[in-house]
């Protein structure tokens, strides 16, 4: 049955970390080329990592956080970000708000406002109610 794709076992965690490191390098180069939205898309792809391993989740969060913080023009971002990314982005915004870090929260709230306008309250519900695919 569709839905669960099965969680990767712990010995695969290394492979996931390697993939996240590769993603991180790609994001850095995209940011150097002033393509913050492309960087965010890259960061959100393959997220959340399909594992319960906390190391993988926090490694991925660091990468997504880097991309979120690089967004300057929020309205411009939404003109080129496809709706398929909305649900996962919302999850990471709540992760950002849970850190309590001032600049992170400011940035996440700014995007949150626009994202709610775009994707509706359903998007918030989807990110809060999913206890399986946590970020």
């Amino acid at each position: 049955m569709a839905g669960h794709e099965g969680f990767v076992e712990a010995d695969n965690a290394e492979a996931i970390i390697t993939r996240i490191e590769h993603k991180s390098r790609k994001i850095e180069s995209l940011l150097k080329q002033y393509k913050p939205v492309e960087a965010l898309k890259t960061a959100l792809e393959g997220s959340p990592p399909k594992t319960r391993d906390e190391r993988c989740k926090s490694a991925n969060w660091i990468v997504v956080h880097r991309a979120i913080m690089a967004i300057k023009d929020v309205d411009g971002m939404f003109s080129s970000l496809d709706p398929e990314y909305y649900d996962i982005l919302m999850k990471y915004l709540y992760k950002g708000l849970s850190t309590g870090d001032r600049p992170t929260c400011d940035q996440c709230l700014r995007i949150h406002e626009k994202l709610t306008e775009k994707a509706g309250l359903g998007c918030i519900l989807r990110s809060l109610s999913d206890t399986v695919n946590t970020v």
Binding site: G3, G122, L125, R126
Partner: protein, 378 residues
């Protein structure tokens, strides 16, 4: 207007059901009683109060052919009420539950009823002629959490359930001596009582409100994550569709035809979902009138409105300075809608009329007859 009648029967209604000819309505006004109202000279008058339960009545169903009412309650019991003369006479059905009963539904042939419970079980109850007694048979060990909704397949054998463990399951409820293995039941007739036909793992959070389409070919249920799921070919190789929508989650669904589903829930306004020719389901529109939503200020007011709802204020939030937008967006219900019941005219496969009730204590009757844009899906 799609809504043709609005009745304020109580402060809050947990569930409701109609008599076979729709001249009477039974509902629970959020306490241990069931009130029956009858339409007398254009006015609804209370004619009976069924008092037997000790706690909130969570489910009512009124059988069409045998004219029996079944009620279930948080007190873990169920009663079947028979009309004798002017009175309704209750028969206790011992469900053997150790948690609240949450929902109830008569089977299509009305010889069984199913009760979902907080004890992670489903009770299938049937009448034993020799003992003059309703017997409850339990489906155990399959659900990992409370059963929130039950729905009978038209073949009288298959039962779909949703649960707060997020799953939707389909069981066989074949009972020897009650059901016969005739041709009408198809392959479903070969399974034993309590056998699980399928488990659907589409939702990652609570699931509510399951229904079969009139033919029994499609199954629809909702998740608390603002998603609705449609499953075709329920069996070894099901095909599933997931529709995410932008508003608050649904609590219950109803098939109006094979290709149209009405969903009701926390958004206070029924939503219409329809399948186009290729069978692809999409959200079509809201059924009640609704002001256009675009400005960001509206979302601010929606948040405080949601807080207002959270604290049981159905009119408007106190901390809301934009009162004009806080009245639930032109909708007829002012609070969460928790049940939707078809108003079926005998013999027709599609029914355009149905009623909804919710935490605002209103019962609203809707008719899709004059909704031109929806007629192609009927």
């Amino acid at each position: 207007m799609a809504a043709i009648a609005v009745h304020q029967f109580a402060q809050c209604i947990t569930c409701h059901a109609w008599s076979p000819d729709h001249s009477m309505i039974a509902f629970c006004p959020n306490n241990s009683e069931v009130h029956i109202h009858k339409l007398v000279e254009e006015k609804w008058e209370r004619i009976h109060v069924l008092q037997k339960h000790d706690q909130i009545v969570s489910g009512i169903d009124w059988s069409i052919r045998s004219n029996r009412i079944v009620t279930v309650s948080h007190d873990r019991n169920s009663y079947v009420w028979n009309q004798e003369g002017v009175d309704w006479v209750p028969t206790l059905v011992i469900l053997r539950l150790n948690r609240a009963a949450l929902c109830v539904q008569w089977s299509p042939r009305e010889n069984k009823f199913a009760v979902g419970s907080g004890a992670k079980t489903v009770c299938i109850c049937y009448y034993e002629q020799e003992n003059n007694w309703w017997v409850s048979k339990l489906i155990r060990k399959r659900h990992d959490s409370s059963v929130t909704s039950v729905a009978w397949h038209p073949n009288n054998i298959l039962l779909a359930t949703t649960s707060t463990d997020g799953k939707c399951r389909v069981f066989s409820t074949f009972i020897k001596g009650v059901d016969t293995r005739d041709s009408g039941t198809g392959s479903a007739g070969d399974s034993k009582f309590g056998e699980q036909i399928i488990q659907l793992d589409l939702s990652f959070c609570w699931s509510f409100g399951v229904k079969w389409s009139p033919s029994g070919n499609t199954l629809a249920y909702v998740g608390h994550n603002s998603m609705i799921y449609f499953v075709d070919e329920v069996g070894p190789a099901p095909s599933a569709q997931t529709v995410a929508f932008r508003d608050l989650p649904l609590r219950d669904v109803l098939f109006v035809s094979e290709r149209m589903v009405i969903g009701v829930g926390f958004d206070c306004n029924p939503m219409v979902f329809a399948a186009e020719e290729r069978g692809l389901w999409t959200f079509l529109r809201f059924l009640g009138e609704r002001k256009a939503s675009s400005s960001s200020a509206k979302y601010g007011s929606q948040f405080s409105e949601a807080f207002g709802k959270l604290y049981g204020q159905s009119k408007q939030g106190i901390n809301n300075d934009r009162a004009e937008t806080s009245i639930p967006r032109g909708a007829i219900h002012e609070n969460c809608i928790n049940s939707i019941v078809p108003l079926k005219k005998g013999g027709k496969s599609t029914n355009t009329r149905f009623s909804t009730s919710g935490l605002d204590g209103k019962v609203v009757i809707w008719d899709l007859e004059n909704q031109e844009d929806l007629s192609e899906y009927l």
